[in-house]
Amino acid sequence: MSNVADMKFLIVDDFSTMRRIVRNLLKEIGYNNADEAEDGIAALAKLRAGKFDFVVSDINMPNMNGFELLAQIRGDEQLKGLPVLMVTAEAKKEDIVTAAQSGANGYIVKPFTKATLEEKVLKIVQKFAK
């Protein structure tokens, strides 16, 4: 991507309020370009249809959860290189291990702060910029 601020985010969460919160926080952090999806299936359709640079995904969702979405992304030739940040209420250690082993680039436990989101997003953006 030419300009980091133009990065296009996809926010995946089954709760519309959480999607709005993440979207607004990203805006405050400086990322104005974001779209939303309510579960893994909707997310995959959007990811395959349009150019996205970053995925912020919940785990516990109906139809297709965040782990399944992550597996689909990592198994897709076009999407496998996408940065994926998990933002979830799942605080089980085994979930964090699963996320890391499945190729997640970061993991944030809800409830979180703007500073945490900013730090994790920035860390991943910098890593991918290298």
């Binding site: 969460d13 709760f15 519309s16 309020t17 959480m18 709005r20 919160i21 607004n24 926080l25 405050e28 516990n60 109906p62 209420a89 799942e90 605080a91 089980k92 250690k93 085994e94 964090i96 291990v97 890391a100 082993q101 680039n105 970061g106 993991y107 944030i108 436990v109 809800k110 409830p111 979180f112 702060t113 703007k114 945490t116």
Partner: protein
């Protein structure tokens, strides 16, 4: 299940069996006996009615929980709408104050104003500076108000889990109720089929297999090479 083959007591078996056979036989027969006794007791004591009431009340409990989820969701959306409007207004104020301040600063440095206006100029500049600070602080408060709406997601997940538990309980009680109801009345009960609400959510408290802070998550990820 044939429960008439054994007595309720632990009377020795009439024929020779191995210990394992005796244990296995005994356990299943005893469970059968207990079930039969429970079944009879429920009917004798009129608990089948209570059970029926319990089954009937669970959909109501689920509906109430869903109502809470719906209302808290709507409230959170309203707050988010208002916060977004207020943020837009604050951003406009911030931008206007910033632009005006730059102009006043340029004007002052160029000494374009008459000496008599000095007090007014500094008061205006002080006000603009204060406006900038206030707009920034208010935006920070608005951001916190917005973030606090995450309760909808977090409580919503717990509510879903309880609704799910209530449904499982309802199904099990219904099965028990059917067991204790004469066949001719079963259809009546079955007509009140339990509804189905959406899936499970995992909320974790007081357990050792979970993390309790973001720093623990970070430590774990670091140990996993992230």
């Amino acid at each position: 299940m044939n429960t008439t083959q054994i007595s309720a007591s632990s009377a020795p078996a009439a024929h020779t069996l191995t210990t394992a056979e005796v244990d296995g036989y005994d356990v299943f027969q005893r469970i059968g006996l207990i079930t039969r006794r429970l079944h009879d007791a429920l009917r004798e004591l009129g608990y089948d009615k209570k059970l029926e009431n319990a089954v009937d009340s669970l959909p109501d409990a689920r509906a109430r929980l869903s109502y809470i989820a719906k209302l808290t969701g709507e409230s959170a959306e309203k707050v988010l709408n208002t916060v977004e409007l207020a943020q837009a207004t604050q951003n406009e104020t911030h931008q206007a104050a910033k632009e005006l301040l730059v102009r006043w600063q340029a004007s002052a440095s160029a000494a374009l104003t008459a000496p008599a206006d000095d007090a007014l100029v500094s008061a205006t500049r002080a006000f603009l500076e204060k406006s900038l600070e206030s707009a920034t602080a208010t935006n920070e408060h608005l951001s916190n108000i917005m973030l606090a709406q995450d309760f909808h997601d977090l409580t919503g997940q717990v509510i879903r889990k309880v609704v799910d538990l209530a449904q499982t309980l309802e199904e099990q009680l219904l099965a028990l109720l059917l067991e204790t109801t004469p066949p001719e009345r079963r259809a009546k009960i079955l007509n009140n089929e339990p509804g189905y609400l959406s899936g499970p959510a995992v909320q974790t408290e007081g357990r050792t297999d979970i993390v309790t802070s973001q720093s623990q998550v970070d430590d774990m990820l670091e140990s996993l090479g992230f």
